[in-house]
């Protein structure tokens, strides 16, 4: 391990990122098509009887363009969005020379330019990295983590985050956060507009026009299904994608610092801490060093956890000590 594998990892992450963007575009433009056709069939069913296929194709292509633009925005500005949502503010060398030094050291070990550093004013102990590539990356750590870790432990955590940066995990994770957020918003909007449409106009119009009403019903069902299924699928992808990654980043952190004690000490301290990170949500949870939305007794025990249990991570690292 070690010699060629991280390049393979990068290639795999690139593939997954492309796949994610493509499926995001298709799912959202299908949903948009459903929405538009549904509304049109309710408002002016006569239009659809003549122009059904041109209208479908046009809305679908329009949806693809919009989704593509959103995905582009996600790639280019996703890191800003994630940092703003997490209420992270930039740190400069004068504010905290030691933190700055630790980040630069580990970046040298990984052979990447030093990422920008952000601080989250929260006493829970956590950290994340984001960005589109190592040249445009940022690490954010919480006040609680910064104040309660030794230099060595801090180095371990930063090395874990820099491992995510070097492996291009950050791009995939950022796209997941931003695009899943979009799908969730779209799905909510879709469901609400369906409810609105059916309560106001749908029922009294559909009775008369048999074929138009049928199309409308089909379209509505498809739209609702998509709206329901898309976030669920996205959620599952998100989980599948992030658990193995954490073990790997832990191992890479040890490889970079040549020191398992740092990250091990940090994980032990965090496992004793039960503060909940306020700024994290379901969309950004998978970005973090440890699961920020937690109920300690149950954490990591279920399939639906975005992170492996801390105890298992500690156990795997301890195996390196022998």
């Amino acid at each position: 391990m070690g010699l060629a594998t991280f390049r393979d990892l990068i290639a795999e992450n690139q593939r997954k990122s492309v796949w994610l963007v493509v499926s995001f575009c298709i799912v959202t433009s299908l949903a948009l098509t459903g929405l538009v056709l549904g509304i049109v069939s309710l408002m002016v069913p006569e239009l659809l009887e003549v122009w059904f296929w041109p209208a479908t194709v046009m809305t679908f292509v329009g949806g693809l363009i919009i989704a593509g633009l959103v995905a582009l925005l996600g790639v280019r500005r996703g890191d800003r969005i994630v940092l703003v949502i997490s209420r992270a503010r930039p740190v400069h060398k004068v504010d905290d020379p030691q933190l700055y030094n630790v980040v630069e050291e580990v970046a040298i070990a990984a052979g990447i330019p030093p990422p920008q550093i952000y601080l989250i004013e929260d006493y829970a102990m956590n950290a994340f990295a984001t960005g589109r590539d190592p040249e445009h990356a940022a690490v954010a750590i919480t006040r609680g983590l910064r104040e309660r870790l030794t230099r060595e432990e801090l180095q371990g955590v930063i090395a874990h985050e820099i491992a995510h940066i070097r492996n291009y995990d950050i791009r995939l994770m950022m796209l997941l956060a931003v695009l899943i957020g979009m799908v969730a918003v779209l799905a909510d909007f879709l469901l609400q507009s369906m409810r609105f449409a059916s309560s106001k106009k749908g029922l009294n119009r559909r009775g008369g026009k048999a074929s138009g009403g049928l199309i409308a019903a089909v379209v509505i069902v498809v739209a609702v299904l998509l709206a329901l299924v898309a976030p669920l699928v996205a959620q599952v992808i998100q989980l599948a994608v992030s658990r193995e990654r954490e073990y790997l980043a832990d191992a890479t952190a040890v490889e970079l610092t040549r020191n398992p004690h740092g990250i091990l000490g940090a994980l032990r301290k965090i496992s004793q801490d039960d503060a909940v990170l306020q700024v994290a949500n379901r969309g950004t949870a998978h970005l973090y060093f440890v699961n920020p939305i937690r109920n300690y007794a149950a954490r990591g025990a279920t399939i639906f956890s975005s992170h492996p249990p801390i105890e298992e991570r500690i156990r795997r690292l301890e195996a390196l000590l022998v």
Binding site: L3, Q98, N101, E104, E105, I108, A109, G111, R258
Partner: protein, 193 residues
């Protein structure tokens, strides 16, 4: 009909040659990229060593204010720094840097005897910078060695080694810091007494 059969083998041959050529270009460019990476990693070590040279006068000045009669140790650090800055060649370089590391460790150990110096904010800040600089130098060497290992593997692997041999790609040496440090540890008591 006959004409077609005559040129067909030539077309196949041309296609094969073209494919081999394209493959060769790909391998060549890959090796060039990895070589550049190794050279870049090497210059990163230099950057970090320079950072250490720049820190030393500052450190010596600060210590002088509290421990002026430790002149000998201070002198030795300055001398080791100047020697390291002017040396040429990899082996000599490693030796000079090892001597400098030893002298600086002694200087920092000396600070233990001066509580006022240890409490000085400026000294604390310098100490953090020194720790970081030592880490940076270590990590830069480690990264250089990792990159060189990858490059050398590419160089030796068949069939890429044909291209590497054809264009005389040089194999790079590792930066052997472990052995130098081990030597230094063995010599340490001799230096002190």
């Amino acid at each position: 009909m006959l004409a077609e059969i005559v040129w067909l083998p030539w077309a196949i041959l041309a296609a094969v040659v073209l494919l081999i050529l394209l493959w060769g270009i790909g391998v060549y460019n890959g090796l060039i990229a990895r070589q550049a990476e190794a050279q870049n990693a090497w210059s990163q070590i230099d950057v970090q060593l320079k950072r250490r040279y720049d820190l030393i006068p500052n450190l010596v000045e600060t210590v002088k204010g509290y421990a002026s009669h430790e002149k000998e140790t201070l002198e030795r650090v300055i001398q080791a720094r100047n020697a390291a800055m002017n040396v040429r060649g990899i082996a000599e370089r490693a030796e000079a840097e090892t001597a400098l590391t030893g002298a600086m460790r002694q200087l920092l150990m000396l600070a233990e005897a001066y509580p006022e110096l240890k409490a000085n904010e400026n000294f604390k800040a310098l100490q953090e910078e020194l720790i970081s600089t030592e880490n940076r130098i270590g990590f830069a060497r480690q990264h250089y060695n990792d990159v060189v290992a990858r490059y050398n593997v590419c160089l030796r692997r068949f069939p890429a080694n044909i291209i590497a041999g054809l264009f005389r790609f040089p194999e790079y040496e590792f930066f052997q810091v472990e052995s130098a440090e081990a030597q230094q540890v063995r010599q340490a008591p001799k230096v002190q007494f």
